[in-house]
């Protein structure tokens, strides 16, 4: 059993439009059998926060191409991406890249 964990989620670059235009969400992840990895978090977001059109945010088990993920302001690529185990009070940021000019 892994304990529940409090995290802050941030959305920018338009990703916030999928979450009621709210850029920052403080959430409590419930306790569960396994550790809270970013992969688990993404599934949890899909099931609990994304009301419609999850394909605009996710593709399969990960974020869709064109979304950058940061953990405490560092690129998740340095931290193991989906396998990173979330620590209490982490801030996870999802940035949709912009293309307009």
């Amino acid at each position: 059993m892994a304990a529940g964990v409090d995290v802050s989620l941030e959305f920018s670059g338009g990703a916030e439009l999928l979450f009621d235009r709210v850029k920052k969400h403080d959430i409590s992840l419930p306790s569960q059998d396994k550790s809270w990895t970013l992969q688990c978090l993404l599934a949890w977001i899909r099931d609990n926060m994304l009301k419609e059109r999850p394909e605009l945010f996710m593709q399969g088990q990960t974020v869709r191409p064109g979304i950058l993920v940061l953990v405490n302001d560092a690129d998740w690529e340095l931290l193991g991406e989906l396998d990173y185990v979330i620590q209490p009070n982490d801030t996870i940021t999802f940035i949709s890249t912009l293309h307009g000019g």
Binding site: E55, L70, A74, D75, T97, G100
Partner: protein, 282 residues
């Protein structure tokens, strides 16, 4: 030949006096600027402020690429165009405005769509490239062309109240493909026509692109290699975040690149290199 300009004239000393006295620029930096060339791809919301501040600063040669003509709906953000120039090529309109400010700069307008056939040949004549385009296909095309030609790419983008800025392919930092190996699904891409944009937001990002290009051209360090700036104009916040290093497995800039010449980017992205006829969403 820009490199033959090795001494500042009295006129140049008068014009650039306020930046010549900056120790980080000085006569050495000003001569550097005058010997360097910048290519701005896109003469729109980002390209307008970037062009005019690069011209003002005394860059040696400025190329401006755009296939489009000025429209009334551009004028809320594309501040170098004018009501009277509606209908004329944007590249000529931007260069007309820059020329009036600083006729010492050598200006080259390109009224064409950058594509896999012409991009490399064009880029190779410039030292620094600015991505001021408005669509995904052009961004991959420019990225790959800059990697193949070995040029730094100062990339800006804006939508609604938000803007982003980074420098690709510079001093060991990543390229666009290192960050985004796969293009976004076309239905997740929003352009300014569909999503809207407050005009001064690309204004701010375009100015920041000019600043980074000036720093690179004058021989200073850029602040945005391997670093991404996020701007939110509604909240008045700027945030700089560290992004990954160059990826060894990157298909274009990695150790064993498979993209060794330019490909079909519209096919790769599943969408055209044209803001006007794309699908909408996020």
């Amino acid at each position: 030949d820009l490199s033959s300009h090795t001494k500042l004239s009295n006129n140049e000393i008068a014009r650039y006096s306020r930046q010549l006295i900056l120790p980080e620029i000085g006569v050495r930096g000003q001569l550097c600027l005058s010997q360097r060339s910048v290519l701005i791809v896109g003469a729109g919301g980002l390209g307008c402020p970037a062009s005019i501040y690069l011209a003002a600063a005394g860059i040696g040669r400025l190329g401006v690429v755009d296939y489009d003509e000025v429209e009334l709906s551009n004028l809320h953000r594309q501040i170098l165009h004018t009501e009277r120039r509606i209908g004329i090529p944007k590249s000529a309109s931007v260069i007309g405005a820059c020329q009036q400010l600083n006729s010492d700069v050598k200006f080259v307008p390109y009224h064409l769509q950058l594509n896999s056939e012409n991009a490399l040949n064009l880029i190779k004549h410039y030292d620094v490239v600015l991505d001021a385009t408005d669509n995904v296909a052009s961004r991959y095309l420019l990225n790959d062309a800059c990697v193949l030609a070995g040029k730094p790419l100062v990339s800006g983008s804006a939508l609604r109240f938000q803007g982003q800025l980074t420098v690709y392919n510079h001093k060991g930092g990543p390229c666009y493909r290192c960050l985004f190996p796969k293009p976004p699904p076309p239905e997740t891409v929003t352009n300014c026509s569909d999503g809207g944009v407050l005009g001064v937001v690309p204004g701010i990002i375009g100015c920041l692109q000019a600043l980074e290009a000036i720093k690179i051209a004058a021989g200073m360090d850029s602040s945005f290699s391997q670093r991404l700036l996020l701007f939110d104009g509604l909240d008045g916040t700027f945030r700089g975040v560290s992004i990954r290093k160059k990826s060894l497995g990157c298909l274009v800039c990695g150790d064993n690149p498979t993209i060794t010449k330019l490909i079909d980017y519209e096919q790769f992205c599943g969408a055209g290199a044209n803001d006007k006829d794309q699908a909408l969403h996020i």
